[in-house]
Amino acid sequence: MKILGIITVIITGFLLLQAERDFPDWGDAASPASDNRLSQHYITETINETRVSNMVTAVLADYRGYDTMFETVVIFTAGIAIIGILRVYGPSTKLEHPEPTLDTEKPDLIIETTCRLLIPIIQLFALYVIAHGHYSPGGGFQGGVIFGAAFILLALARDLQTAQKWVPENRVLNLAAIGIFIYAGHGVLSLIFGENFLDYSILTKVLPGDAIDARYHSMLGVEIGVAFTVTAIMFSIYSNLASNGKMEEGI
């Protein structure tokens, strides 16, 4: 296997180096990728077309919103996939090869207290990141991950059962699905109003302001949908992996 690996690496590496010879200089503003209508349009016209000053958010949630919807679906898929692969329902059957378990002591007081203080702040920050994605780095994915991390921290600090009380398994799935429904709902709504899928401009019919405002607001809605899904699935992945699919006790 080692020899095979080395051969593969040498061939591929050589190939990639060949390609590198023809690359434009690193950081060259006149390189084809930068100096063309696509990239320039995003930089110069985003603000006119969407009123969002964070171009990444605008491209993510509007110009390439269809990509992002399926990005969310990828996350959702991963969640369902891991449940499908690992989850064991019913009374826990003894595995042939159980994982080594740690001694489950009572949670440490310092850790518990710190978490109790930290978690609300983390969650608040997550909300900020989600909501402020239009103006600063951030958005649904980033915020969702942070929010999910808060729950994971809880599960780490106490145990999985405690975290499960907050977000039981079914609720996790509901949240994930709702997230996707929010996103796809924007698309379906624009379909219903007679425009193409995900064409937010028609949503003026339900949102305040003109067509551009509709895009602006829809993007926020979409980001919130993403955040729902990401939060839920992050925690779901953690809880499945940590408990070997039994959802009883984590690490």
Binding site: D25, I43, I47, I75, A81, E96, H97
Partner: protein
């Protein structure tokens, strides 16, 4: 010396290849399933590095507009709705391209000039597009969007990979590929 120079010029492109090859080697040659997954992560991250490097421009900043730029553009575009906006797209882009060339000629050395300078510069041009925003001031936003997707895909694949590894461990009691294959071969 020339080689060193060329490496230094496109440092990122060399690094991504090296990282990618490390990942690829682990993917192919490692026996331990978790190590393979680590290799996979390195492999995917190298591609992310490559993409992000495409978007980098000397002297450019993150693709987020300053408050006043945003306001400026906002104000100008306020007259029309989205329909108009994308009817004008073709036209506007051509205009913008011309404009940018002009700017580039005028200020070949002035990439990192501040936005305030641009305001005055741009105002002397066609008022229709009149954006105070200059493409070379901002990194390419598209690649960041793409890489957000790639990151998400990477996380998802890693998660599924780990889940399968865990299931394999539950079934075979090992995460060494050769041992698992041996168990299958000896017939269980």
């Amino acid at each position: 010396m020339e080689l060193l120079q060329s490496i230094a010029d496109s440092f990122n492109y060399w690094i991504y290849i090296i990282l990618m090859m490390i990942g690829l080697y682990a993917l192919v040659a490692k026996n331990n399933l978790v190590k393979k997954l680590i290799g996979m992560s390195i492999f995917q991250t190298a591609i992310i590095l490559f993409y992000v490097s495409i978007g980098y421009k000397d002297g450019a900043t993150i693709p987020i507009l300053y408050e006043h730029q945003a306001h400026h553009g906002h104000h100008d575009a306020g007259h029309g709705d989205a329909e108009d906006a994308h009817h004008d797209v073709e036209h506007a882009v051509e205009e913008a391209a011309k404009e940018i060339h002009a700017v580039a000629e005028d200020h070949a050395d002035g990439h990192d000039a501040h936005a305030d300078d641009h305001d005055t510069l741009v105002d002397s041009h066609d008022a229709h597009t009149s954006s105070a925003i200059h493409a070379e001031d901002f990194a390419n936003p598209l690649v960041h969007v793409l890489m957000l997707t790639a990151i998400v895909v990477g996380v998802a694949t890693l998660g599924v990979g780990l889940a399968i590894t865990q299931k394999l461990y539950g079934e075979f009691g090992s995460i060494e590929e050769s041992e698992i294959i041996e168990q299958i071969r000896t017939g269980k």
